[in-house]
Amino acid sequence: MNRTLDSAPNRVLTVLTVVAVLMFVMAVGMALFYAPTDRQGDVQRLFYLHLGTFMGGALAFFIGAIASVAYLVWRGEGWDALALASIEVGLVFSGFTIVSGAIWARPIWNTWWTWDPRLTSAAIMWLAYAAYLMLRNGIDEPGRRARFAAVYGIVAFSSVIFTTVITRVRPDTIHPVVVGPSPQNAQGSFGLESPAMRVTLVFNIVTFVVLTITLIWHRLRMESFSRRVQALKMKLMAR
Protein backbone atom coordinates (compact mmCIF):
# COMPACT_ATOMS: atom_id res chain seq x y z
CA MET A 1 0.00 0.00 0.00
CA ASN A 2 2.65 2.52 1.09
CA ARG A 3 4.78 1.53 -1.84
CA THR A 4 2.07 2.16 -4.43
CA LEU A 5 0.10 5.38 -3.96
CA ASP A 6 2.29 7.12 -1.43
CA SER A 7 5.63 6.37 -3.06
CA ALA A 8 4.48 7.02 -6.64
CA PRO A 9 6.44 9.79 -8.37
CA ASN A 10 5.34 13.31 -7.51
CA ARG A 11 5.06 14.06 -11.23
CA VAL A 12 1.95 11.88 -11.62
CA LEU A 13 0.21 13.64 -8.75
CA THR A 14 1.29 17.05 -10.04
CA VAL A 15 -0.18 16.31 -13.48
CA LEU A 16 -3.36 14.95 -11.88
CA THR A 17 -3.65 18.07 -9.72
CA VAL A 18 -3.28 20.42 -12.70
CA VAL A 19 -5.85 18.39 -14.66
CA ALA A 20 -8.25 18.39 -11.68
CA VAL A 21 -7.96 22.15 -11.17
CA LEU A 22 -8.51 22.87 -14.88
CA MET A 23 -11.49 20.51 -14.97
CA PHE A 24 -12.91 22.14 -11.82
CA VAL A 25 -12.68 25.63 -13.36
CA MET A 26 -14.30 24.31 -16.55
CA ALA A 27 -17.03 22.48 -14.64
CA VAL A 28 -18.00 25.59 -12.68
CA GLY A 29 -17.78 27.66 -15.88
CA MET A 30 -20.07 25.22 -17.72
CA ALA A 31 -22.60 25.27 -14.86
CA LEU A 32 -22.61 29.08 -14.88
CA PHE A 33 -22.32 29.99 -18.56
CA TYR A 34 -22.83 26.95 -20.80
CA ALA A 35 -25.91 25.25 -19.36
CA PRO A 36 -29.12 27.09 -20.26
CA THR A 37 -31.20 28.78 -17.58
CA ASP A 38 -33.92 26.49 -16.26
CA ARG A 39 -37.49 27.58 -15.43
CA GLN A 40 -36.42 27.59 -11.76
CA GLY A 41 -33.97 30.44 -12.43
CA ASP A 42 -30.22 30.70 -11.93
CA VAL A 43 -30.26 28.87 -8.58
CA GLN A 44 -30.84 25.63 -10.51
CA ARG A 45 -27.21 25.88 -11.72
CA LEU A 46 -26.14 24.81 -8.23
CA PHE A 47 -27.59 21.39 -9.04
CA TYR A 48 -24.58 20.48 -11.25
CA LEU A 49 -22.20 21.10 -8.33
CA HIS A 50 -24.66 19.55 -5.85
CA LEU A 51 -24.86 16.21 -7.66
CA GLY A 52 -21.16 16.29 -8.62
CA THR A 53 -20.06 16.72 -5.00
CA PHE A 54 -22.53 14.07 -3.85
CA MET A 55 -20.96 11.57 -6.27
CA GLY A 56 -17.47 12.64 -5.19
CA GLY A 57 -18.38 12.27 -1.51
CA ALA A 58 -20.03 8.88 -2.06
CA LEU A 59 -16.92 7.68 -3.93
CA ALA A 60 -14.67 8.89 -1.10
CA PHE A 61 -16.79 7.08 1.51
CA PHE A 62 -16.77 3.96 -0.68
CA ILE A 63 -12.96 4.07 -0.87
CA GLY A 64 -12.97 4.59 2.90
CA ALA A 65 -15.11 1.47 3.41
CA ILE A 66 -12.95 -0.63 1.06
CA ALA A 67 -9.78 0.58 2.80
CA SER A 68 -11.35 -0.27 6.17
CA VAL A 69 -12.11 -3.82 5.01
CA ALA A 70 -8.57 -4.09 3.61
CA TYR A 71 -7.14 -2.95 6.95
CA LEU A 72 -9.07 -5.60 8.86
CA VAL A 73 -7.91 -8.27 6.40
CA TRP A 74 -4.24 -7.31 5.92
CA ARG A 75 -3.59 -4.98 8.90
CA GLY A 76 -1.44 -2.62 6.78
CA GLU A 77 -1.10 0.84 8.30
CA GLY A 78 -1.41 2.34 4.80
CA TRP A 79 -4.99 1.09 4.52
CA ASP A 80 -5.89 2.85 7.76
CA ALA A 81 -4.29 6.05 6.44
CA LEU A 82 -6.24 5.70 3.17
CA ALA A 83 -9.53 5.22 5.06
CA LEU A 84 -8.87 8.36 7.11
CA ALA A 85 -7.85 10.40 4.04
CA SER A 86 -10.92 9.29 2.06
CA ILE A 87 -13.39 9.94 4.84
CA GLU A 88 -12.00 13.41 5.57
CA VAL A 89 -12.29 14.34 1.87
CA GLY A 90 -15.75 12.76 1.70
CA LEU A 91 -16.89 14.96 4.58
CA VAL A 92 -15.84 18.10 2.70
CA PHE A 93 -17.69 17.03 -0.45
CA SER A 94 -20.85 15.87 1.30
CA GLY A 95 -20.77 19.00 3.47
CA PHE A 96 -21.03 21.11 0.33
CA THR A 97 -23.77 18.83 -1.03
CA ILE A 98 -25.91 19.49 2.04
CA VAL A 99 -25.22 23.25 2.14
CA SER A 100 -25.83 23.74 -1.60
CA GLY A 101 -29.07 21.75 -1.32
CA ALA A 102 -30.25 24.04 1.49
CA ILE A 103 -29.40 27.14 -0.57
CA TRP A 104 -31.33 25.75 -3.57
CA ALA A 105 -34.26 24.83 -1.31
CA ARG A 106 -34.75 28.36 0.04
CA PRO A 107 -36.19 29.91 -3.16
CA ILE A 108 -37.68 26.64 -4.48
CA TRP A 109 -39.21 25.07 -1.32
CA ASN A 110 -39.43 28.35 0.58
CA THR A 111 -37.37 26.88 3.42
CA TRP A 112 -33.68 26.28 4.09
CA TRP A 113 -34.31 22.88 5.67
CA THR A 114 -37.06 20.36 6.21
CA TRP A 115 -36.92 16.97 7.93
CA ASP A 116 -37.58 15.16 4.69
CA PRO A 117 -36.35 11.51 4.58
CA ARG A 118 -33.62 12.31 2.03
CA LEU A 119 -32.36 15.41 3.81
CA THR A 120 -32.46 13.67 7.18
CA SER A 121 -30.54 10.64 5.91
CA ALA A 122 -27.92 12.94 4.30
CA ALA A 123 -27.52 14.80 7.60
CA ILE A 124 -27.19 11.49 9.49
CA MET A 125 -24.59 10.32 6.96
CA TRP A 126 -22.52 13.49 7.46
CA LEU A 127 -22.77 13.29 11.25
CA ALA A 128 -21.87 9.58 11.21
CA TYR A 129 -18.65 10.36 9.35
CA ALA A 130 -17.90 13.40 11.53
CA ALA A 131 -18.17 10.99 14.48
CA TYR A 132 -15.60 8.77 12.72
CA LEU A 133 -13.01 11.54 13.11
CA MET A 134 -14.02 12.06 16.75
CA LEU A 135 -13.70 8.34 17.41
CA ARG A 136 -10.17 8.37 16.02
CA ASN A 137 -9.22 11.34 18.17
CA GLY A 138 -10.59 9.59 21.25
CA ILE A 139 -8.34 6.51 21.07
CA ASP A 140 -4.62 6.89 21.78
CA GLU A 141 -3.26 3.43 21.01
CA PRO A 142 -2.68 3.34 17.20
CA GLY A 143 -3.54 -0.33 16.59
CA ARG A 144 -6.74 -0.15 18.62
CA ARG A 145 -7.68 3.16 16.98
CA ALA A 146 -7.21 1.70 13.49
CA ARG A 147 -9.26 -1.43 14.32
CA PHE A 148 -12.16 0.51 15.85
CA ALA A 149 -12.10 3.06 13.04
CA ALA A 150 -12.11 0.31 10.39
CA VAL A 151 -15.17 -1.39 11.88
CA TYR A 152 -16.91 1.99 12.27
CA GLY A 153 -15.95 3.01 8.71
CA ILE A 154 -17.61 -0.11 7.32
CA VAL A 155 -20.78 0.33 9.39
CA ALA A 156 -20.99 4.05 8.56
CA PHE A 157 -21.04 3.24 4.84
CA SER A 158 -24.57 1.85 5.29
CA SER A 159 -25.66 5.51 5.71
CA VAL A 160 -24.32 6.29 2.21
CA ILE A 161 -26.29 3.40 0.69
CA PHE A 162 -29.37 4.47 2.63
CA THR A 163 -29.05 8.11 1.49
CA THR A 164 -28.57 7.05 -2.14
CA VAL A 165 -31.58 4.73 -2.39
CA ILE A 166 -34.03 6.53 -0.11
CA THR A 167 -35.58 8.63 -2.89
CA ARG A 168 -36.38 5.39 -4.74
CA VAL A 169 -37.97 3.58 -1.80
CA ARG A 170 -39.73 6.36 0.16
CA PRO A 171 -42.61 7.87 -1.84
CA ASP A 172 -43.15 10.62 0.77
CA THR A 173 -39.84 12.37 0.10
CA ILE A 174 -40.08 15.78 -1.58
CA HIS A 175 -36.50 15.61 -2.86
CA PRO A 176 -36.59 15.50 -6.66
CA VAL A 177 -34.80 12.83 -8.69
CA VAL A 178 -33.31 13.87 -12.02
CA VAL A 179 -32.31 10.47 -13.41
CA GLY A 180 -35.38 8.22 -13.54
CA PRO A 181 -38.87 8.94 -12.24
CA SER A 182 -39.21 11.46 -9.40
CA PRO A 183 -41.11 10.45 -6.23
CA GLN A 184 -44.83 11.33 -6.41
CA ASN A 185 -44.48 14.07 -3.75
CA ALA A 186 -41.30 15.57 -5.22
CA GLN A 187 -41.28 19.36 -5.29
CA GLY A 188 -39.06 21.52 -7.47
CA SER A 189 -38.47 18.79 -10.06
CA PHE A 190 -36.80 19.74 -13.30
CA GLY A 191 -35.74 17.79 -16.35
CA LEU A 192 -32.48 17.91 -18.24
CA GLU A 193 -34.20 18.61 -21.55
CA SER A 194 -31.33 20.29 -23.35
CA PRO A 195 -28.19 18.35 -24.38
CA ALA A 196 -26.08 21.20 -22.90
CA MET A 197 -27.59 20.45 -19.48
CA ARG A 198 -26.77 16.75 -19.78
CA VAL A 199 -23.22 17.44 -20.97
CA THR A 200 -22.69 19.87 -18.07
CA LEU A 201 -23.99 17.32 -15.57
CA VAL A 202 -21.80 14.48 -16.87
CA PHE A 203 -18.74 16.76 -17.00
CA ASN A 204 -19.35 17.93 -13.43
CA ILE A 205 -19.68 14.36 -12.17
CA VAL A 206 -16.45 13.29 -13.90
CA THR A 207 -14.69 16.42 -12.60
CA PHE A 208 -15.67 15.84 -8.99
CA VAL A 209 -14.64 12.18 -9.24
CA VAL A 210 -11.19 13.25 -10.50
CA LEU A 211 -11.01 15.96 -7.81
CA THR A 212 -11.94 13.43 -5.11
CA ILE A 213 -9.16 11.05 -6.15
CA THR A 214 -6.64 13.92 -6.32
CA LEU A 215 -7.51 15.31 -2.89
CA ILE A 216 -7.50 11.84 -1.30
CA TRP A 217 -4.06 11.21 -2.76
CA HIS A 218 -2.72 14.52 -1.36
CA ARG A 219 -4.28 13.84 2.04
CA LEU A 220 -2.89 10.29 2.06
CA ARG A 221 0.63 11.58 1.39
CA MET A 222 0.28 14.05 4.22
CA GLU A 223 -1.02 11.33 6.56
CA SER A 224 1.93 9.05 5.71
CA PHE A 225 4.32 11.94 6.29
CA SER A 226 2.61 12.72 9.60
CA ARG A 227 3.00 9.11 10.74
CA ARG A 228 6.69 9.06 9.81
CA VAL A 229 7.27 12.30 11.75
CA GLN A 230 5.38 10.87 14.72
CA ALA A 231 7.41 7.65 14.64
CA LEU A 232 10.67 9.62 14.55
CA LYS A 233 9.54 11.81 17.42
CA MET A 234 8.88 8.69 19.49
CA LYS A 235 12.27 7.29 18.53
CA LEU A 236 14.05 10.47 19.59
CA MET A 237 12.09 10.70 22.84
CA ALA A 238 13.05 7.11 23.67
CA ARG A 239 16.76 7.95 23.49
Binding site: N10, D38, D42, R45, L46, M222, L232, L236
Partner: protein, 70 residues
Protein backbone atom coordinates in the same frame (compact mmCIF):
# COMPACT_ATOMS: atom_id res chain seq x y z
CA UNK B 1 -35.80 42.03 -15.69
CA UNK B 2 -35.79 40.04 -18.93
CA UNK B 3 -35.85 36.79 -16.93
CA UNK B 4 -38.90 37.93 -14.97
CA UNK B 5 -40.65 38.85 -18.22
CA UNK B 6 -40.01 35.29 -19.44
CA UNK B 7 -41.55 33.88 -16.21
CA UNK B 8 -38.20 32.80 -14.81
CA UNK B 9 -37.65 33.92 -11.19
CA UNK B 10 -34.61 36.07 -10.48
CA UNK B 11 -32.78 34.14 -7.76
CA UNK B 12 -29.21 34.78 -8.82
CA UNK B 13 -28.40 35.90 -5.25
CA UNK B 14 -28.84 32.29 -4.08
CA UNK B 15 -26.51 31.10 -6.84
CA UNK B 16 -23.89 33.57 -5.60
CA UNK B 17 -24.46 32.33 -2.04
CA UNK B 18 -23.93 28.75 -3.25
CA UNK B 19 -20.68 29.69 -4.97
CA UNK B 20 -19.54 31.47 -1.80
CA UNK B 21 -20.29 28.26 0.14
CA UNK B 22 -18.17 26.34 -2.38
CA UNK B 23 -15.24 28.71 -1.81
CA UNK B 24 -15.63 28.68 1.99
CA UNK B 25 -15.98 24.89 2.36
CA UNK B 26 -13.31 23.77 -0.13
CA UNK B 27 -11.07 26.77 0.60
CA UNK B 28 -11.39 26.16 4.33
CA UNK B 29 -10.29 22.56 3.94
CA UNK B 30 -7.41 23.63 1.68
CA UNK B 31 -6.20 26.21 4.22
CA UNK B 32 -6.44 23.61 7.00
CA UNK B 33 -4.47 21.16 4.81
CA UNK B 34 -1.71 23.72 4.15
CA UNK B 35 -1.49 24.73 7.83
CA UNK B 36 -1.21 21.09 8.92
CA UNK B 37 1.43 20.34 6.25
CA UNK B 38 3.48 23.38 7.29
CA UNK B 39 3.33 22.26 10.91
CA UNK B 40 4.57 18.81 9.92
CA UNK B 41 7.40 20.30 7.88
CA UNK B 42 8.42 22.43 10.87
CA UNK B 43 8.41 19.31 13.06
CA UNK B 44 10.48 17.42 10.48
CA UNK B 45 13.00 20.29 10.35
CA UNK B 46 13.24 20.32 14.15
CA UNK B 47 13.82 16.58 14.16
CA UNK B 48 16.59 17.05 11.61
CA UNK B 49 18.24 19.59 13.94
CA UNK B 50 17.97 17.19 16.87
CA UNK B 51 19.41 14.49 14.67
CA UNK B 52 22.41 16.71 13.91
CA UNK B 53 22.95 17.29 17.65
CA UNK B 54 22.37 13.75 18.89
CA UNK B 55 23.73 11.66 16.04
CA UNK B 56 22.16 10.06 12.95
CA UNK B 57 18.49 9.17 12.89
CA UNK B 58 16.34 8.33 9.84
CA UNK B 59 15.61 11.53 7.88
CA UNK B 60 12.00 12.43 7.05
CA UNK B 61 11.38 14.10 3.70
CA UNK B 62 8.20 16.12 3.36
CA UNK B 63 5.89 15.45 0.39
CA UNK B 64 6.67 17.87 -2.42
CA UNK B 65 10.26 18.49 -1.26
CA UNK B 66 12.61 18.31 -4.26
CA UNK B 67 15.21 15.53 -4.07
CA UNK B 68 18.67 16.81 -3.06
CA UNK B 69 21.81 15.86 -4.95
CA UNK B 70 23.99 13.41 -3.01
Amino acid sequence: MLLQEAGIPDNVAYLVLGLAALVVIFGGWLVSFIVRLRGLRRDAALLAELEAEDGPVQTVVAPGTPAQAK
